[in-house]
């Protein structure tokens, strides 16, 4: 068959095919290069001193323990606030809403939110949470900004998994005399835990990689605090610390060390979401 087509056609096919392979190789090489380069430059500089101390101007040492703690605090604070709102909104859309207009409005809002760049979240977060709510430049203000950013993610993943809960489950529970809230609490929510967990993992990924929105809301201090004090005071997350060390202080070794930690976390998060996706697919297949 292939011999019977004309020369120009054959050349065209070969060129197109070559372009496809080339692009794919480029993308793969790029990913591999990013990972390996960052690890190669960063891992040698990960020392116990870096991981378990705070920066000291006296001894001229840099430690990222405060940044690690801040990152953990901000992840926890964000998830604690965004989960009820996001899951609740998804439940409303999927279980309660009867008015087409309201559903469209909420979905449109969620889509708009997911398209807004993080620098704008940073600005508005600064105006609303830092100044208007007078939280000051603090992890809490940063976390609340991230809540709005991650709301669409949690809503979407929860909604997707709510849609896979079979209608018969709900009908069965209703038939047994359960009220709507009871059905949601005892039947619907437990079956869509996977989707909620996926949303959490995705959100953690976004929080870890966020910098622009946190720069003006959470600031860049490097102090070790407890959870409650930490939320009330300014602090840099790992990503913000990376930016500060690389861009403003020229400490590339430290920046690469942080980058390699973030890189490993990114890979882990992707493996986890992939695993969750397969888990959900398998369950829906059954």
């Amino acid at each position: 068959m292939i011999e019977r087509i004309s020369g120009t056609r054959r050349t065209w096919c070969t060129v197109m095919k070559a372009l496809c392979y080339l692009s794919l190789i480029l993308v793969t090489a790029l990913t591999a290069f990013m990972i390996l380069y960052v690890l190669f430059r960063g891992v040698p500089h990960i020392t116990p001193q870096l991981l378990f101390t705070k920066p000291s101007t006296l001894r001229h040492t840099i430690g990222i323990l405060p940044d690690i703690l801040n990152t953990i605090y901000i992840v926890i604070a964000t998830l604690v606030v965004v989960l009820p709102i996001g899951v609740g909104a998804a439940i409303y859309l999927n279980e309660y809403a009867t008015n087409r207009k309201i559903v469209e409005l909420i979905e449109f809002a969620a889509e708009t939110l997911s398209g807004i760049p993080s620098i704008i979240y940073g600005l508005v977060g600064m105006l609303v949470f830092v100044q208007f709510c007078s939280l000051g430049t603090s992890l809490m203000a940063g976390a609340l900004t991230l809540v709005i950013m991650n709301l669409p993610t949690i809503m979407r993943t929860t909604q997707e998994s709510l849609k896979t809960v079979p209608e018969s489950y709900r009908e069965g529970a209703f038939a047994l005399g359960a009220g709507k809230w009871r059905v949601i609490r005892t039947v619907v929510l437990p079956t869509c835990v996977n989707g909620i967990v996926t949303g959490c993992i995705l959100s953690i990924g976004r929080i870890l990689s966020e910098s622009a929105a946190l720069l003006f809301t959470a600031g860049f201090a490097h102090n070790i605090n407890g959870f409650i004090d930490g939320l009330g005071s300014a602090g840099a997350t790992l990503t913000v610390a990376l930016y500060v060390y690389a861009s403003e202080r020229g400490e590339f070794d430290i920046a690469f060390a942080i980058a390699s930690i973030l890189m490993v976390l990114t890979v882990i998060i992707n493996l986890l979401t992939g695993y969750m996706g397969r888990l959900m697919k398998r369950r829906n297949g059954q």
């Binding site: 197109m16 993308v27 990689s209 690389a246 980058a259 998060i269």
Partner: protein, 301 residues
């Protein structure tokens, strides 16, 4: 109607469970409306804090002024350099990133063995998940010196470096969205084309791709949105000088203009930064609107 009549009408007195259910319904409705409220708050705040400076400076001078000297003795606030840089930078990223993403998506959708596709899914996920400051860091240490040496310019932190970083950063969304739309093309289209004697490659590019064109277009618009909104990565590689854009000059984008001066700004300068954010927001809203049109158009088909 007073409260008592309302309670009687709803039958809450005899049926407390219904009262509970209705309260819970209201709670969920409120949670659902948080997203709507957030969009409103963001819009209102940006407009309120962004408009005054535009009128104080003068809309024409602000939008079409070519000089930005916010801290000079006689400050000038012209943001045309930022607008043009954002447009050129985004266009450059699209020109480089979209073809690569497009061909990779065609390969993954149509030719890749399952193993390769699974591996690439992880690759693309990682590429999408890498924090933008890490892209900035790698750009700073490889691209910037590379461009300086390769093209013999005094400083490698240029628009070109920013374009390359942006091109890489939009790849995952371009690939993912095109991939989904290519996979959604009915198998019958391709079978018909193959039966008419077209080769498989011809089928993919002459039948499948045109059938998926609205999805691929969506991918491009999404890429534009990502590129125009990116701040930190390009702040680290673009040099951050308010020049009119040129490929080998240090430049400042709309996003980086806001980010770089915010921490020490005051007075009219600060208000002007909010105005820049408002302009950026308008760009994003236009892109969102185009995406919406594409989506509803796609659904109708």
């Amino acid at each position: 109607m007073n409260l008592r009549e309302f309670i009687d009408q709803k039958g809450y007195r005899h049926n407390p469970r219904r009262l509970m259910e209705d309260i819970i319904h209201m709670v969920f409705l409120i949670l659902g409306l948080v997203a709507v409220g957030s969009v409103l708050v963001i819009t209102v705040y940006l407009v309120i804090s962004g408009l005054p400076a535009i009128f104080r400076i003068g809309p024409v001078e602000f939008l079409f002024g070519t000089r930005w000297a916010s801290t000079a003795a006689e400050p000038e606030f012209g943001i045309l350099p930022f607008i043009l840089t954002s447009i050129y930078g985004t266009a450059g990223a699209i020109i480089i990133g979209v073809p690569i993403g497009f061909f990779a998506a065609v390969y993954l959708a149509k030719m890749a063995p399952k193993k390769v596709r699974d591996a690439m899914e992880l690759c693309i996920g990682v590429l999408a998940g890498i924090p933008s400051v890490v892209y900035g860091l790698v750009g700073m240490t490889i691209l910037v010196p590379g461009i300086r040496i390769l093209f013999g310019v005094p400083d490698g932190a240029t628009l070109l470096a920013a374009i390359i970083v942006l091109a890489v950063m939009i790849l995952p969304s371009v690939i993912n969205v095109s991939l989904t739309s290519l996979q959604a093309v009915p198998r019958e289209y391709e079978e018909a084309s193959l039966a008419l004697g077209a080769t498989d490659i011809e089928t993919y590019f002459r039948v499948t791709v045109p059938a998926a064109k609205s999805g691929i277009f969506t991918a491009i618009v999404l890429g534009i949105g990502r590129a125009i909104g990116e701040a930190m990565a390009i702040m680290m590689v673009a040099g951050n000088v308010a020049n009119m854009p040129s490929i080998f000059k240090s430049v400042r984008f709309l996003t980086t203009a806001v980010a770089s001066e915010m921490s020490y700004s005051s007075g009219l300068q600060r208000e002007a930064l909010f105005s820049i954010a408002l302009v950026l927001f308008l760009f994003i809203m236009i892109i969102n609107a185009i995406l919406n049109v594409l989506k509803t158009g796609g659904e109708r088909r």
